[in-house]
Symmetry: C2
Subunit: 252 residues, 2 copies
């Protein structure tokens, strides 16, 4: 058996997230279907992690095993011919035996885009969260780096039950290490960039919801350490919509 | 009665063009519907011209008459609240009595985007025509300005019967004046920009189809004057897809 590593870009707008679900279009289901068409084998395709409904990916990584002898470069072309235009295989490579996109991911980077203009251009609304109301952006920019470091992120974890994928994780610890956490203004957008060892479900969207509370003056940057220490979801801000979130890269 | 001038941006992906049609979502139908909700009046909303299925607009102009006293600025907000996110009113202004978005348009500018990279990003595919095959771009760039000037554009007009709008035009002449016509490389895209007194149906898409034939070496830049002189549709290249076309601005 060969192990194939796929790098995928997708527009999450029309998918109910990454993970396969009955009767709903998902990215994983679409990729597994075309892998089956191209290789003739029904194989599980493991993503580096799930992305929720509406979340986009510039470079998601996935892996699967195949007995097929199709060269990796041809595989990328064949998959792209069958996939919807909203999912593209950017690269298909031979990976070492035992490579697993989720289990071996060492770091991931995400981006979150908040559109600050009064009228959200129709060409952007699938890709950003539109928030045209007043915000103290300077306070938010100062608060963003306070998420850096190793923290128990219970306050920022989804209150929903863990997904099957997460249950299989070796550790149930909610400690994650954030290597960098930065918010900045780029034109009409506030862009948040975060790189970390791993992320809990909804973690980035909850960090953003908390930063927006800081921008509204309902929370202060100084409270971030307390919110982390509280280890309860209700201490942090709300979950911002999935459509502003982008999985930027996965490192191995 | 007051006359209102609307400036509209829209993502044409999910519409069957501008013009109202039975049982199909169109931009004009969507705008007329919300104008009725907001003003309480069913009024025709005239666009500066029709855009075909898939064609986008950065600043389409439309006009309608109303007896409603709602201030123009409030009107824009009220319409945006009701419209789908794929259509935005960028501005609503009081126009002089008798203003008509189509009859008084003096010039229009369009853009056409051809994506040249091997893999079209999922976030762009609604907005560009993907053509990853070899093209002599320099020949195309040299051919583009040959469309400038006043020409009979019969060779570049849709062979389909004219739409009702066009039948009402005072002149049946197929002479149009192109003020500027330029193709250039912008990153991974070939971007065509054209400004003219008016455009026949499919004219820009047929110019582009002809430029692509030049790029393929099937036609030469030197043939453009002959193709114009031939005054028959079959002399020019094919019609490129609507989704790469953008209505950029309308001048009055």
């Amino acid at each position: 058996m060969r192990t194939i590593k796929l790098t995928l870009a997708y527009d999450g707008s029309e998918f109910f997230g990454w993970q396969i679900q009955p009767d709903r279009p998902t990215v994983q289901a679409a990729v597994m279907e075309v892998v089956e068409v191209v290789t003739g084998e029904r194989a599980p395709v493991h993503g580096s992690g799930r992305t929720d409904a509406g979340v986009h990916a510039l470079a998601q990584v996935a892996s699967f095993q195949t007995a097929s002898g199709i060269p990796a470069a041809n595989l990328a072309k064949a998959l792209n011919r069958q996939l919807p235009h909203t999912i593209r295989v950017l690269a298909a490579e031979e990976a070492p035996a035992g490579f697993h996109a989720r289990l071996q991911a060492r770091a991931k980077s995400y981006r979150y885009r908040i559109y600050r203009g009064g009228i959200c251009p129709p060409f952007l609304w699938r890709y950003v969260h539109h928030f045209p109301y007043p915000l103290d952006e300077q306070q938010m920019i100062e608060a963003a780096p306070l998420f850096q470091g190793a923290h128990d992120f219970t306050s920022f974890a989804s209150a929903e039950p863990p997904a099957p994928d997460e249950r299989q994780m070796p550790s149930k610890s909610l400690v994650r290490t954030v290597f960098s956490s930065e918010l900045r203004r780029e034109g009409d957008e506030l862009v948040y960039t975060v790189r970390g060892s791993g992320f809990l479900r909804h973690m980035v969207r909850n960090i953003l919801g908390t930063l927006v509370e800081v921008g509204k003056g309902r929370m202060s940057a100084a409270q971030i350490p307390e919110i982390l220490a509280a280890r309860q979801r209700s201490a942090a801000g709300p979950t911002l919509p999935g459509k502003g979130l982008w999985l930027v890269s996965v490192e191995y």
